[in-house]
Structures are given as C-alpha cells and as structure tokens.
Subunit: 391 residues, 2 copies
C-alpha cells in the first residue's frame, strides 16, 4: 500500500488518532473521506479505514484491485465490515466516530444502520484537529511542494505577453505549475467550495464578489463557476494578483504574488506595503501559544491604522479571515479569524494572506506558507515579495 520506510510514519499518525479516539471515549473511528483515507494509509482508495482505539488499523478496500499489504480486507459493500471485524477477533464498537461533516446524510445513515448497536459521534473535528499539527514527514512534503511552488512563481513574469487577457495569463501559469510538477487538483474541504487550480485577478475584476469562501473573488468566465479571472484584457494601471494553488506532493502550499502593468496608483503600493508590514509583524510575534484570533486582530489593527480598513480582505465583499491551515486540503485548521479558538502549536502549517482590494486597480498583498517551529514561524514559500512589473 505504501513504501516500507513509510511504516513508522503511519504508526505515528495512528497513535495520534488513537489518542483523540481515547480521549473522546469512543472505541473506534471509521473514515472514508479521501483526505482521511490518504492520511491513514498513504494513498487514496475507495473504501474505509477502521481505526480502533487500540490495535491495528484495518483498510476495507472496494477499489483498486490488487493492493497487497497487511491489514487490507477487500469488501464489496460496507455491510460486510462487522462480520469482517468479527473474523479478525475485533469487538464491535459501542461508541463509533464517523465523519459527520463530510459523509452525506444517506452514507451516514447507512453506516449507522450497519453499526446499529453503537452510539455514533462526530469524528470530523477530531481528525481535523489531528491533521492540523503536521508530522515531520508531512512538513517535508509541504516544504517540497513549497519549493516547487516558489520556483514556479519566480518564472511567472516570463510567461506574460502584452495584450493578454487575465484568462490567457492564467492558462500559461496553470501550465507552468503543471510543468513544475503540480498534480493540478486542489483538494478542498467542503463540497460547496470549487475552484480550478487557483485564481488570477486583474484590475476591477478583483472587486467582484464571489459565492465562495476564498480570500478574494472575481466574476469568473461563467455563472456556473463565478470565481477568478473573467476574460478581460489586462491593462496599464492594473495590478495582477496571482494565487495559483500548489499541490506538488499531495500536500498543498499556498502563495500569492502581485504584478503590475504600467504605472499603478500610489495607493496600491501603500496598501501592498501595509500587507508586507502585517506579515513582518506577525513573523515577530507568532509562535506556539499565540492565538490565531490575536494574529487576525493584529493584522486588522495595522490595516485600520494605515487607513485601509475599507479595502482590507476585499472591498465590495470581505473575507472574514487572513489565513488558514494547509495540508492534504487547502482549507485546514487553524483559521485566522476574529472568533477563532485555534492556538498556534509547533508543527502547524498555515498560509497567511493579508490582502487589499483597490477599486478599479486590482488586488495587492502577499501570501506565504509558514510552519510553526518551537520558537516562532518559518516561511516555506520563497520568492520576491515586492510588486514586480510584467511589462
């Protein structure tokens, strides 16, 4: 199922999950969300991972055929799981955790009927809490993703051609990302979140509100996907915010950079400098024990004092956060929002994205991915942070 040297890593993840299962008072956790299957096994399969409070994880696999490794049990349907557990000498759970925030209602009811004797509780927040603090192995994968991502961003100006529409530039950036090893798919928690690889926002389109819970919007090309570039020609006086997601290893990194065409208003440069100042102040104070809400408040205060409150995190429509955890999914915990309860801990990895929308000009600001170390935070995405001219 995964390379031999990966066994220790899976053992570590298992013990992290088992520890929260124990603390919750449950006997087992049955996961089937692709992100959690990948986390618990090292690969995506169709089926379920059964994690007992103690003992081995069992992989109940529907597809693909031919997985040969310990603890794999092939099934056609989840109704076979109780019998298979009995054959393995594993007692049925009295309290079972399910992914109530990602299983559909009908999938959940089906599993509840299968484990009809068990009390069912919600495991989604628990496993998201576990995944929030990355292992060293995971941090290495995010570091690798961030390195490819940064290298791609350094070449972003080279694929611009005069007269391009925002979509045409986006297409060349998507290709650049793929040539640098991007898997393409950006895995997102929550079925209502949709995006194609990332976003390129030029000029006034940056101020178009979108239905999605991303930091910024854009009208998109079609009402079926109202996000990101809208096909307008990029013009002198525009800023261009490039926010193409990085998924080079199954683990996401997230970064944005801003480019300019012709002369851009001083106000845009000032707002961009405020973003860099926010990032720099956060780098000074962020460390284990600091509250994510405190970090949001610091950013908001700096933006407000600089006179950019009306532009902070959007203008016609505003995002309610300035950062988010990244990992197997693009939107993990912690969340950097006013009412967030998350507290920084060593091993967390997050994207920080203080941004401003300047009407008629475009978006400015910065986004980088950081890991929380024992004493502070370390930036994983490395690339020029000033506004670079494309022309």
């Amino acid at each position: 199922m995964y390379a031999k040297n990966f066994t220790t890593e899976i053992e570590l993840r298992k013990s992290k999950i088992q520890s929260v299962i124990c603390r919750s008072g449950a006997d087992a956790f049955l996961v089937s969300d692709n992100a959690n299957l990948f986390y618990t096994s090292g690969r995506v399969f169709s089926g379920y991972t059964y994690i007992p409070a103690e003992g081995e994880m069992i992989y109940f696999v529907r597809r693909p055929v031919g997985l040969s490794r310990e603890n794999v049990v092939y099934i056609r349907k989840p109704e076979q799981i109780p019998d298979e557990l009995s054959h393995l000498g594993i007692a049925l759970p009295r309290v079972l955790l399910l992914e109530n925030d990602s299983l559909t209602y009908n999938e959940s009811i089906r599993l509840r009927n299968i484990f009809s004797e068990a009390k069912i509780e919600n495991g989604t927040p628990l496993i998201r809490g576990v995944r929030m603090v990355k292992t060293l192995y995971e941090i290495e994968l995010i570091r690798e993703s961030a390195a490819h991502h940064s290298s791609m961003y350094r070449k972003a100006p080279s694929v611009y051609k005069q007269g391009m529409s925002d979509v045409e530039y986006s297409i060349e950036l998507e290709r650049l990302a793929r040539l640098h090893g991007s898997l393409g798919l950006v895995r997102i928690f929550g079925k209502s979140m949709e995006i194609y690889m990332g976003s390129v926002l030029a000029g006034e389109n940056a101020d178009e509100p979108s239905p999605y819970d991303f930091a910024l919007g854009g009208a998109g090309l079609d009402p079926s996907l109202p996000i990101s570039s809208n096909g307008s020609i990029m013009k002198p006086g525009n800023t261009i915010m490039v926010d193409i997601g990085g998924n080079f290893t199954g683990y996401m990194s997230d970064m944005s950079r801003v480019f300019s065409l012709g002369e851009i208003p001083e106000k845009a440069r000032e707002a961009h400098d405020v973003s860099l100042e926010i990032q720099s102040e956060i780098e000074k104070m962020a460390k284990p024990g600091v509250a994510a809400s405190e970090i949001y408040d610091l950013a908001f205060d700096i933006a407000k004092k600089a006179g950019f409150e009306a532009n902070f995190m959007g203008h016609r429509q505003k995002a309610g956060f300035i950062g988010h955890g990244v990992g197997i999914e693009l939107n993990e915990a912690p969340v950097f929002a006013p009412r967030s309860k998350d507290i920084l801990a060593e091993g967390m990895v997050f994207a920080l994205e203080p941004k401003f929308v300047i009407p008629q000009v475009g978006a400015v600001g910065i986004e980088n991915t950081f890991v929380v170390t024992a004493s502070g935070i370390e930036k994983l995405t490395q690339c020029e942070e000033e506004i670079l001219p494309l022309d």
Copy 2:
C-alpha cells in the same frame, strides 16, 4: 440574477421540479448543492433555493453580495429561512425534500432541526431525474460545449512532440482545452470522485486500476490522486487514450479519442473497430423507450462475440458501465449498466464509451456525447474516430 431572456427557461425548470414535488406528495424542496443551485437559478451562489410545490422559487443567498433580482432574500444562516418564509406569506412545509445524497450529515441535521415540524424525504433522486431530461436551452449549451470540445480534439495531434511523457502531453492538451474556452473544473456528483480535467492514458499505464468510478484508471503521478497519466515516456507501440472533459458552458460534454505511436499490434486495431461497431449498432437501435440496460447488454455481447470480453471496459479492473448521462455534472443519469432501470427519453444527453484495455499496448475505443431525439440519437461530438498516428 440571470439575463432577462432566461426567465422562460427558469420557469420551465421550476415547473418540471414542481411536478415531481407534487407527485412525491411533498410541499417543498430546499436545495443547496452547487449543481442544483445553478440549475434552479442560472448561477452558483452560497445559499439555498426554496422550491414550493406551487408558486415562486425563493433564493436565500448568503453570498455574493449585490444580487438584485426578484425573489432573492439575503440571509446570514439557514435558521432565518422559516421566518423569512412567514414574512412572504408562505406556509411552512409539512413534508420537505432535502438533498440527502449530497448534504453532509451535519448539514442535513441542521436543516431538520430548522424544519422540525416537517417530515423530511430524500429529494436527490427526484432532481437528478428532472435534470436527466434536458430542456432545449440546456441541449443548446451542451451542443456548444461539444462543438468547442470537438474543435479542441481536432488539434490534439498538433501539440504532441516526440519524446513527451504522458503527463507532458496531458499538460498541452489541458492548455489547448482552456484556450478553446474550457472552464477547467469538471463538476462531478459524489465527493469521492476526483480528477484533474481528464485523463491521458498511454501504454501499460492504461491497465493500472484506480480507486475511482471512471471507465478507465491509470496510476496517476502520486498516491494522493491515483488516476490518469503517470509520467512515463510514450513509446512506439503504445496507444494513447485522450479523455479530457469538456466544460465550456457550465454543461459538460464528454469524448475520447485514441492516438498511436509507431506500429501498434493488430489486436489493438481490432478491438478499436469493435468499439466503433458497438457505437454504430447502438446508434441504430437507441431511441426513446429503449432500456439503458439493453444498450449495455448489446455492447457486451458484441465485445464477447468478437473475443474481447477479457479486455472490455478494462482488463485488470473493469468498469461496470459503458455510458453515463452528462449535463451540469459529468456523471448524471441515465447509467448504461446491466442493472440500470433507466429508459431512454427524448432530451436525455449521455456519453457512450465502449473501450478496451490491451495489456502492454494501452486503451482503445471511442467516446462521444449523444442527445436522444424523438426517433433516435444524435451525435454531438464530431471528430475523426479512427486511431490517428501522432508521429
């Protein structure tokens, strides 16, 4: 919310949905799945469409800000819906349909608590049944998508360069699709289905089983996304199956074509001809009233008689269907499988994909998108169907 000439279309969709609400004995249907929001309003938003058995649909919108049109009510949270309905003089439903196959368990429980007096029933199969039969307006959008898609496929050989890996070729095809107007995102029903734009399968990678419920597999580049190309160099003797999804209008078209490098074995050509024969026989008999299962059986019988049963719809792992409806999502009804209960009706649109995997050589076969007419079926994707040499 949508262009003025779109009003008649939305009225038509409303009456189709209201007819199934009525027949089910329910008083209303509350939808929040992006595909169903798009279907009921003409755009994706964050919120809910409330469809009463009679009367106007109400759009409860969280985001984006600034939608100005009739029947839009802004809300912060779904708990406001009952009060807002009362303000509008609409009686609360006694029987309410919810999307039990796409709402998460917790979302569904939240809505059940909000409508605690109502009996809740599953509306997912009903609206998928409605969406299965397309309106003329929708057929025009799929026709347009299919035209762009076909035009892109005609240029597919032109972006091949000798010595490319399957992924490098895929990247150029993705760019080609985007330059032809593809929105990129391929919308799929079911959270466990993941793919990036489509699939390019060359040589023996075509025989790698995947966890996903697509017609064919491929190992992919990473265990986090085990589908499609795996980075191997395409070699003489390989067939290359290109199956890049088409989403040019918010409506999907689906097509595949096969290319070759160097001399390929006669067996591969024979199997490809069997695919074309299957398609041709289905074109002769498919019309309103014909069962989808009958069409599957016909395809299977032709494949078996030709001696290709072991290769039909996969070799190491097989798909259980030879076609599927397309529309707002890539995997709609009808399903062409042995136990399908679907019966063809005028206005259905589906992709037919009889394919074979020849070990060590690659995949062969054909995929086109068809619309069911009053007396037969019409092919919407038009492009050379023989195996074309890339070199």
